[in-house]
Amino acid sequence: MDKETIDRVDQIIAEKGKSADQVIPVLQALQSEFNYLSGDVLKRVCQNTDITPARIQGVSTFYSRFRHKPVGKHIIKVCIGTACHVKGAGRIFEVFKRTLNIPEQEDTDADGLFTVEEVACLGCCAIAPVVQIDQVIYGLVESGKVADILDDFLSKENTTPDKEIRTLSEKGLPQGEIRIGLDSCCVAGGNLKVKEELDKVLQKSKINVAVKQVGCVGVCNQVPMMEIHKPGEDTVYYTRIKIHEVREIVQRHFKSVKLLDRVQNRFHHSVERYVFRDIPESARPFLADEVDSPIYEYNKGQVNIATEYLGKMMPSDIDEYKRFEGFEALKDCLTGRTPDEIIDELEVSGLRGRGGAGFPAAKKWRMVNRAASKTKYVICNGDEGDPGAFMDRMLLESFPFRVLEGMIIAAYAVGAGEGIFYIRSEYPLSVKRIREAIARCEQEGLLGENILGTSFSFKVKVFEGAGAFVCGEETALIASLEGRRGVPLMRPPYPAEKGLWNQPTLINNTETLSLVPWIMRNGAGRFNKIGTASSPGTKVFALAGKINRGGLIEVPMGITIRKIVEEIGGGIPNGKRFKAVLIGGPSGGCIPASMADTPIDYEALSGAGAMMGSGGLVVLDETDCMVDIARYFLAFTRDESCGKCTFCRIGTRRMLDLLDKISSGKGRPEDLDTLEQLAVNVKKSSLCGLGQTAPNPVLTTLRYFREEYEAHINGVCPAGKCKDLITYEITSDCIGCTNCVQRCPADAIISRPYQRHEIDPQKCIRCDVCKQICPENAVIIR
């Protein structure tokens, strides 16, 4: 190690502190300095701090964000969140690796130019599949476009100063998507003519835009209409379009570089929801509250409490927040109510923790309030790990003051002097917004000593997670805050009695805290009138997958799945059949279309074998394979298990082994019983929530789609998804253009110009590239 490196290490230690519990912040700082954690650097840390070699080894290898090997110049992150997975993210990852000639066990190419990694969720589910290269995000990626993306990235390598949402023009990746309804009433209303004109315009201008025909858009009186979806932009609706307006609309959206620049920084908080904006003069504009508009449909079933004033406030503007009733609840609580009165109000509201299990919030608050200790903590759990959910991120980014207000009220009610935001490291913007909000509140006297002139004092800091889903479990989260491996502890004692540093600690989910100000401001009575008797209030969901209108929604508890899918989400695209919803992510389960009238509340979902979870809601259509879905979630929990208890550590792995066996067609009928028994044992005997819920996707798919498992055992994947059970073939339509040969990352097609090509099934990796790029649609799946 050179002197410069040693000095830099020592400097970081000086900044972060020498105590053992600082190990995670120290490692984070070292990694952002040196790109990875070398053995020499870690040894230096042990020499100069109280951090032992055993601790640094244990912690630095536990959290997935820490790297022990140097990385390439650029990092390609392929999102494998649920929404991306169901749209083919798995093969995109593989094609990147093949294209860059990266061996199976490695993650970086020979030149050290690119490192390819999978990430759990980039939270861009609405434009899935998503790939991020350094700061550039590519949306709507297909495996056939991987080479174009790499070319595009490298060609602009030196001209990209800042974050950018990029699409490929001319050829390659579409710049966006135009959705156009083409069911019978739309056609009758003139949409077909609009579609013809659109095709003409696109062909002439050589603009590459995906045109998607959707089913009924539910606003038949507004047709002809189009929806323009672009990465980084809010969706725009055009209704009652006249033929001559088509060209203008297309050019407006798909040529303007300026527009792209303008939206760059809004990317993170806008892609997932629909806001009505940017209407060209010639087309008839909508208003968001205009009855019968799709926007209206989308919003009609929603009730905004956690997301109150959605789209109306600048997230970091405290004055604007105040104008929209911000901090009124806080003032009222601190100056007009006792902690007990606040907790009583909360109890009447019936609010249940939104983290997943639905524990009554007031009960938790009261436990901490009653605990006899001078030092108490409040923690906001923003370690949202469900791959396919981004509620917490959106709340932290769009409503930082609201979450903070909820936390301060909670702290006052339980008697805590210190608060911590535990935020997933994949959410840099959330961290930034919360830090800004804390600073603003300190300036305004809303944090610090004697808040609002009262005797109540409270300070808040932010802790960035280091990549571990299990840290969403509260005892693991505490372990992480204390600088240990994120391994859960047996409860009791509950954190409310013995939490952070053995002191009483209130841990609430982000959404739970963001509901508190509204409840205090409007009264428990108004809150508990929304929703159902056992699950009052609203729930925020990230609606994604095979759905016409995906996004972040806040709905009253008790709403049926059908209403969410069909009315708010506008149904399934491309005329496909609705098959099931995945609810609660890897802890939840699937609910089949036949049970779409199940109301959303804690008990009803548990009864169906699923779980509320944190709020991921992924819609599946007939082309999705349930065995593949179960396998997808199991692979996630297997990777995220902390590894402590036998049932979770080995049990999840063995369940996955069985699913691999079944999905490759090698399963036997008795394997289904073994799988089910094992799943029940893991559920029953695991030590923490992760293991206890990890079998849910398996158990529910077995319960509702057992015949699909049986089909796999008989060697058939009915949805045509499972790689080992399908083959790609080239039909006689092949004109021998050799496009597929050039693009095949596995060299599975031999070049035979002007003749019909053939795919070597042994070499073929089922990446779908040839099928996507074939100009004659001559590639088929069998």
Binding site: A54, I56, I650, T652, R654, K684, L687
Partner: protein, 514 residues
């Protein structure tokens, strides 16, 4: 005080007492692996699961504290099934052989690797003791055994198997040529007399083991010489003087052999049954059975009790070609006789649970060769050549110590046996690769046997080891490692002994046994 019920026993315990401790104070045994008194380890293995009737929930008794009103069940069907599943999951990720493959393949279950190690050290008297614990006539077998052990030997994958059979012959030869050859530790005279009909390999073997149990033993042989098929079908490769010598040795232990005495059904009923406490039929394969015994439904066993006090073994039950198998059955029947005479129902002894993994991966061979003498030997085969003492020692050093160093103290094996675990239940996919670390002076570390309980981590940390041990990775891939790739010597400076003693499996063991 906290009041609770455990298996319907009411008990009061001090606050903070674990359910495990509360149960133990009632004399209720609950299996544990990751728990050790005085270690602040967190529950992980889950073989100590119990159930609270009130909630129906299962939890690890070692960590959960007794709570007022609990109604604990420690051993119902559900609890036992869950424990068994935990054990089977652990076994699916535990790669190692409890017993070496050679021993498993040996019909007599002779402890071959221990024999090899004693020979390698030049302790031939120790070696004959190990051999004769299981085999009555090792010198004879040294000439005629088909040596299934050598076919199973892992060393075969490196070059050629250890010449186990010749080593055994060499040890037996050395022994028999001594002025005072090995004599088993005879139990005190039981006063019981047993008749063995037939002095072939089965009868002689049975007699040897009956004698060591302290019984008096009379063999009735129809021919003029004892030995049966050992003089017949096996005779070609077996010098007669060798057979005579080893029969004489058995006689010297007290066996009485009555030659030229053909025992018929009538003689059996009229004379023998009345005069002996038990009878063993070991007459070998006869085309027209001279005994009207109901053997048909026990043909699989090889050693049976056909009626109270009358036993049969060897080819009379089912024709056998392998002498070692017949001798093993003679030993087995001797044990059944012993059980019968002690007033118990005679049952066949089950071999203890055995974890096994099959063939070595190429990279594992390197790990295994670390334990062998480096010189590759010229391999001797057949019965034409004999090992000298030095050659035998060198040959024995080729043994790779495939057997576990903790065959009797490994808790995983113990509970796998107790819960009749199926080691293959969850064995899907690829197994882990075995590595062995020998850098420490006293300790061997075999990570593939580790169950990640963390006891060694808490011991090193409690003992203030400056380097110590740590977990690395997470989930299924979690491993116990020495930080910064240092050696085990560095990690276990003053807590090695404690770590080995507390480790519930053979992951950490002493280099030298005993």
């Amino acid at each position: 005080m906290i009041r609770l019920k455990i298996d319907d026993n009411e008990i009061s315990v001090a606050e903070g007492t674990s359910v495990l401790m509360a149960a133990r104070s009632l004399g209720i045994e609950i299996p544990t692996m990751c728990y050790h008194e005085g270690c602040n380890n967190q529950a992980s293995c889950q073989v100590c699961l119990v159930k609270d009737k009130n909630t129906g929930r299962l939890f690890p008794s070692c960590e959960v504290k007794a709570v007022e009103g609990m109604d604990i069940v420690t051993g119902d069907q559900e609890v036992k099934a869950a424990r068994k599943a935990a054990i089977e999951l652990l076994l699916s990720d535990h790669v190692g052989d409890c017993e070496a493959p050679c021993r498993v393949a040996c019909p007599a279950f002779m402890n071959i690797p221990v024999m090899n190690r004693l020979i390698a050290k030049g302790d031939f008297q120790g070696a004959i003791r190990i051999i004769k614990k299981e085999i009555a006539m090792p010198l004879v077998l040294g000439y005629i055994c088909t040596a299934p052990c050598e076919k199973a030997c892992h060393r075969k994958q490196v070059d050629s198997p250890v010449s186990i059979c010749l080593l055994k012959r060499m040890v037996a030869r050395e022994d028999i040529n001594r002025s005072n050859p090995f004599k088993p530790d005879m139990k005190a005279n039981s006063g019981k007399r047993i008749a063995v009909i037939g002095a072939g390999p089965a009868g002689l073997s049975c007699a040897y083991h009956l004698l060591s149990e302290g019984h008096c033993c009379v063999l009735f042989e129809k021919d003029g010489k004892a030995g049966g098929t050992l003089r017949g079908v096996h005779g070609d490769n077996l010098p007669e003087e060798i057979l005579d010598k080893e029969i004489a040795l058995i006689e010297s232990y007290g066996a009485e052999i009555c030659l030229n005495r053909r025992v018929t059904n009538e003689i059996l009923d009229a004379e023998i049954k009345n005069n002996f406490d038990a009878v063993v039929l070991a007459t070998g394969h006869e085309k027209e059975g001279s005994f009207s015994l109901q053997l048909s439904n026990s043909r699989k066993a090889g050693a049976v009790m056909v009626e109270p006090g009358v036993f049969a073994c060897g080819s009379v039950v089912r024709p056998q070609k392998m002498a070692v198998k017949v001798m093993a059955q003679g030993k087995e029947v001797a044990h059944m006789v012993y059980q019968y005479l002690s007033g118990n129902q005679p049952t066949k002894r089950e071999r203890p649970f055995n974890s096994r993994f099959g063939r070595l991966f190429t990279e594992e061979i390197v790990a295994y060769l670390q334990e062998t003498g480096s010189d590759k030997q010229e391999v001797l085969t057949g019965c034409s050549e004999e090992f000298s003492l030095e050659e035998a020692m060198a040959e024995a050093q080729r043994c790779m110590h495939c057997d576990c160093r903790k065959p009797d103290s490994c808790k995983l094996r113990l509970y796998a046996d107790e819960y009749q675990a199926d080691r293959k239940k969850f064995q899907f996919g690829e197994r882990k690769t075995i590595t062995k670390y020998f850098q420490h002076q006293q300790v061997v570390f075999e990570p593939a046997k580790c169950i990640k309980c963390g006891l060694c981590l808490s011991i090193t940390s409690q003992n203030g080891e400056p380097t110590g041990l740590s977990y690395s990775g997470r989930g299924f891939n979690v491993q116990v490692t020495v930080p910064f790739h240092q050696s085990l010597q560095e990690a276990l400076k003053h807590s090695a002994k404690k770590c080995v003693e507390v480790c519930p499996t053979g992951a950490l063991s002493f280099k030298e046994e005993g």
